[in-house]
């Protein structure tokens, strides 16, 4: 009992530390995004927020899992400068996205394009969900449906007084049946 309580306590401490670290790292990455001030943006009258709004929709093609607005690489800074330049030229975020896709490939979009093997990544979760849901539904339906008298062999028991096979329809009946059977077995 004492050991159990100390394990529980350590688990709680671990969870608190983990939550703190997660919040801290999230806020750190948010801060980075806010600090990112492209030099070209200032000269073109485009604000850093406008640049970051576009950049946050794109992913650094040189990193893995880093958004362009939070990336500290020199290449990313140059990419943000390019976004600022294009915004100043009057391009909208959609055409900038298209340009980035054309230049650097689908990895800047952060999601696999719908082609070839990638379809599996899009479909598989839903297929698994459907199959899992079907089995769950089927199993639950079988669990709640009343057991037919002919098939209920494993649950059916013998009533000691009447020597007849009874099929329990309610939990109370089932319990009574089991009790009777076990009482009989142990004398």
């Amino acid at each position: 009992m004492k050991a159990n309580r100390s394990i529980f306590r350590w688990l709680l401490v671990g969870m608190v530390v983990w939550t703190t670290l997660t919040i801290w790292s999230l806020s750190a990455s948010l801060l980075h995004a806010q600090e990112a001030t492209p030099t070209a943006a200032a000269t073109n009258g485009v604000t850093a927020d406008e640049v970051n709004a576009v950049a946050s929709e794109l992913w650094c093609p040189l990193c893995s899992g880093v958004r362009l607005d939070a990336c500290e690489l020199k290449a990313c800074a140059q990419m943000r400068d390019l976004i600022a330049l294009k915004l100043a030229e009057g391009e909208d975020s959609e055409s900038i996205r298209a340009y980035f896709l054309d230049q650097y490939g689908p990895q800047v979009l952060g999601q696999p394009p719908l082609e070839g093997f990638n379809w599996l990544a899009w479909i598989l979760p839903f297929v698994v969900l459907a199959i899992g849901g079907y089995f769950l539904w089927n199993t639950m339906r079988r669990m709640v449906q009343p057991i037919p008298a002919t098939a209920g062999t494993s649950v059916a028991s013998t009533d000691p007084t009447t020597r007849k096979t009874v099929t329990p329809s309610t939990p109370e009946d089932e319990y009574a049946g089991k009790l009777a059977e076990e009482l009989k077995r142990y004398g």
Partner: protein, 199 residues
């Protein structure tokens, strides 16, 4: 065991027989669950192994026959490797944000100026770069050989580069004769590599 025999003896005959007959619906359910629990993870593992194998082979640096590529230079000229048969090709992957690339930029341009009349072609493919910065880089080092963006890193993937700079020396028969990973540091190293691809 004794209990069990007692139980079977006391149980009425009908349920005992029914116990041994397997319900087909139940058997179907068991089979389906067996497929889900064993088949699906197995299928997943097979797919994973397949993909890992593919990734592994595609991540090797190119060797032997030089993978073909076509690119449009910053000047608007379309260049295909296939059309350069009979010439030695120096294919350099670079980027304006790459500091080690700057270390070899001057040597590359100087060597190109010396070798361009001797059947050697220099090509610069700009890897994951930004056009304004790339053009500024080319102007800074007065680079005059053909340079253009490697769109969607198509050539970079085919050549299996791990970073920039990387330089491939392709002989007149279109075979990769030599490669330098990282910047080319001196003329002697460059000359030795060029000797392998002279027509």
């Amino acid at each position: 065991m004794a209990e069990l025999t007692e139980q079977t003896m006391q149980a009425p005959p009908e349920p005992a027989i029914a116990d041994q007959v397997v319900d087909p619906a139940q058997q179907r359910a068991v089979n389906a669950w067996r497929f889900v629990l064993i088949g699906v993870p197995l299928l997943f593992l097979v797919f994973l192994a397949m993909r890992l194998y593919q990734t592994n082979t595609s991540e090797q640096r190119a060797a032997g026959e030089a993978p073909p590529f076509v690119f449009t230079s910053f000047d608007g000229e379309t260049i295909s490797l296939a059309e350069l048969r009979g010439k030695g090709v120096v294919l350099n992957f670079w980027a304006s944000w790459c500091d080690p690339c700057r270390a070899e930029a001057e040597l590359l341009e100087a060597t190109w100026r010396r070798e361009q009349d001797k059947g050697i072609v220099f090509i610069g493919l700009d890897y994951l770069d930004q056009e304004p910065a790339a053009k500024a880089y080319l102007a800074e080092y007065a680079i005059s050989y053909a340079n253009g963006p490697d769109l969607q890193s198509g050539a970079a993937r085919r050549y299996g580069i791990k970073g920039v700079p990387e330089t491939f020396f392709i002989d007149p028969e279109g075979k990769i004769a030599h490669m330098v990973i990282g910047p080319i540091v001196n003329e002697a190293q460059f000359a030795k590599a060029l000797d392998k691809i002279r027509p």
